[in-house]
Symmetry: C2
Subunit: 83 residues, 2 copies
């Protein structure tokens, strides 16, 4: 993919429109937006009293947790490959 | 770590208190909250007109993007190890 070519996209997340810009393909960017939308809906369903800001922050916390867990596994694999 | 032992923690993210619950250590949970707080501040600085909800949603999108990029690299490593 051409790194200089920016894709601009409007996506819907939790009923709101967002303009996102990135080097990735439109499909990838839609997939990311869909992932965040799914997580927000899950968190909203389990915590019906939370406002949208809190739902979004807890979604970010949730995804960051997944990131750091995967990072730990990734680092272990890199170590294995280096041995 | 004992998987049954839940840690409850109050953390500050973007000036708001959040109660988070998890199996991970308090240090890990604070690190995750700090990561989200940092990202929100970065996005808020680059986009001063955004409200807190949009900042939080875009933070979640940003972290999800990092997750899926890492996932791709991780899957490639797994393939390499299987060969």
């Amino acid at each position: 993919m051409n790194e200089d070519q920016k894709n601009k996209l409007t996506v819907m997340i939790f009923g709101q429109q967002y303009k996102i810009v990135g080097n990735a393909s439109s499909n990838y960017m839609r997939m990311i937006a869909g992932h965040v939308d799914d997580k927000m809906r899950q968190i909203a369903e389990s915590n019906p009293r939370l406002d949208t800001t809190k739902i979004a922050v807890l979604t970010a916390v949730n995804i960051a947790d997944e990131y750091f867990r995967l990072k730990e596994e990734y680092d272990e694999l890199v170590k294995l490959l280096e041995e």
